[in-house]
Subunit: 314 residues, 2 copies
DNA sequence: CATTTCACATAAGTATAACTTAACTCATGC
DNA sequence: GCATGAGTTAAGTTATACTTATGTGAAATG
């Protein structure tokens, strides 16, 4: 009565047979003859002490034991296959898969993609926009860009930029807005994507920071930061925008940030990859490039009156 | 550049070596000589195209490739081992592991355990009380008893008893309670564990059913049904109890249900096991026994005035 | 109703992967 | 300076995995 695993080839043969529900197809998948596969199954059944397949005339069906074993076997081999493929992928220094949130992808990465391609024509950059936390072991991801607090234990983590927020709008709209109080007369766009931040960084906090009393509860709300900025780009209203996401638009002059007062947050963007992976050529190249780009964002910090969001509520 | 798996024995050798961080210990685990294990690792590295271990003088450490592969390999083999063990367990007809919620375990299964042991001394029954939905493939569970709506697709499912609810209390307390209105004078105990039921089955619903106006918002609240019943057993107050959980106490006379009006729900208790497993001797015996016991509960249905909870709100 | 066909089982033999024993390397520690 | 510990390598053996060839039984075919 050993609980140790049976011969692994037999288990793999069973997995293939159970997935195809056919010995012949399973044998084809494994590049062996049906006879060999038949023996493997038989061997497995001897180890188990009972059959896993019921042999019908022109088909096979799983016994209860087979049904018990099949899902776990499929799952186990799928895990092994994925891990193996991801390990092999390390040798591929021509592609780099980066995951980031939809907003950062749209407003930060995508506009700079061309720059990166110019600097590193040998690297094929793939973007995977998702809020889901990716698993480097399971998903085919090399690098993640994440916004929040950290720390990321067991991973290589590099702080890219502190985040701060200030009202932005189109230059046309800005003509109507000379003082913070004037914001009460125009539409306020709300970015709900950062509601998870502990000292909240919304319009209410900003108005407190400039010490004016404006009801900021009205106006459209956006669950994704980039949509709020897109709305502001149409001239609809002003949005309290994260600098990292609006930097490109500010630089190009399509948006302006007329007020010096900015809210700082403890959250920041981080570059994350598995420990040790930061030395792989394409990851190193990407890190160097993104750090350089993040540094450029600092130009807008000049002349700002920074107020920490955590100092406001007290 | 094949993405097919390397020799599985080599992968398993790597898994053991990575877990122990020692070739010698890994070899001991696999009952092979260190030399054999060394070859396995070498073979894996040849298949991969790069080393997975860095050989130091008196130790080994994982390379980046090794670190990428190790978690997936460990996970994969753990899955396979679990699946295999669970399949082997099918041949064990002497134990039976049943999972149910804490309340059902405490108030229904536990008091009847002795009966089952009397009927089936050859079966060792194990109870696993947990609200967590168990996975028959992963956890060492044969049978689950679940309360709710179903359906349970892909599983064998047998409805055990419809659930209905009526006020219960100690006989002493019941002397003070002649009409539903009298309930306003005593403490009402609230069972919050069934708040997930769609037409709610709380005191408010029951008072509506008997058409009296009593404020039922006060009184202690219990997140677990058995705790509410335990409180009622001390004479603290009355609880709107699920019949299945209070049946034993009603039968023994420690609680009474003075009112005919009862709320029926669409939820019910179900016996669940993997499809086909219902024919295994100990599972079949348990099913027959639990059905018989559930049938006994029906004796309290006589003379009740059943009102469906979904008819009340309208 | 005989015949073909399909899907798997079995027998016998072979290739190869897995393993063992034994000798080797090379730093570490007493 | 010699034993020790951890891993490597070489040579040879065993057992596993696989192949070819043939067998079986029931369903499909015409």
């Amino acid at each position: 009565m050993t609980d140790r695993l049976p011969p692994l080839t037999a288990l793999r043969a069973f997995d293939a047979a159970a997935r195809h529900m056919s010995f012949a197809k399973a044998a084809a998948e494994l590049n062996i003859t049906p006879a060999a596969l038949s023996f493997q199954i038989k061997s497995l059944e001897e180890h188990l002490g009972q059959p896993v397949f019921r042999r019908l005339n022109r088909a096979v069906e799983l016994t209860e034991a087979g049904r018990t074993l099949a899902p776990g076997a499929a799952d186990g081999f799928a895990t092994l296959t994925t891990a193996w493929r991801n390990t092999r992928r390390l040798q591929d220094n021509t592609t780099l898969t980066v995951t980031a949130g939809p907003a950062f992808t749209a407003k930060w990465l995508a506009p700079r993609l061309y720059d990166f391609a110019q600097d590193h024509p040998e690297i094929e950059l793939r973007l995977s926009a998702s809020l889901r936390i990716m698993d480097f072991t399971r998903d085919e991801i090399d690098v993640a860009i994440r916004f929040g607090y950290g720390p990321d234990d067991g991973l290589f983590s590099q702080r890219l930029a502190d985040e701060w927020m200030t009202p932005v709008m189109t230059p046309e709209l800005a003509k109507q807005v000379k003082t913070p109080l004037d914001l009460a007369e125009i539409t306020l766009l709300h970015d709900d994507s950062i509601r998870f931040l502990k000292p909240s960084c919304d319009w209410a906090a900003w108005f407190k920071a400039v010490d004016v009393n404006v009801d900021s509860s009205h106006g459209p709300r956006f669950s994704q930061a980039d949509h709020a900025i897109d709305a502001a780009l149409t001239g609809t209203g002003a949005v309290l925008a994260r600098i990292s996401l609006s930097h490109k638009e500010l630089y190009d002059g399509r948006l302006v940030a007329p007020f010096a007062t900015a809210l700082t947050t403890k959250a920041h963007f981080r570059f994350i990859c598995p420990k040790g992976a930061e030395t792989r050529p394409q990851i190193k190249a990407f890190l160097v490039w993104i750090m350089k780009e993040a540094e450029k964002t600092r130009s807008f910090e000049e002349g700002r009156n920074f107020i920490a969001s955590e100092d406001i509520q007290g």
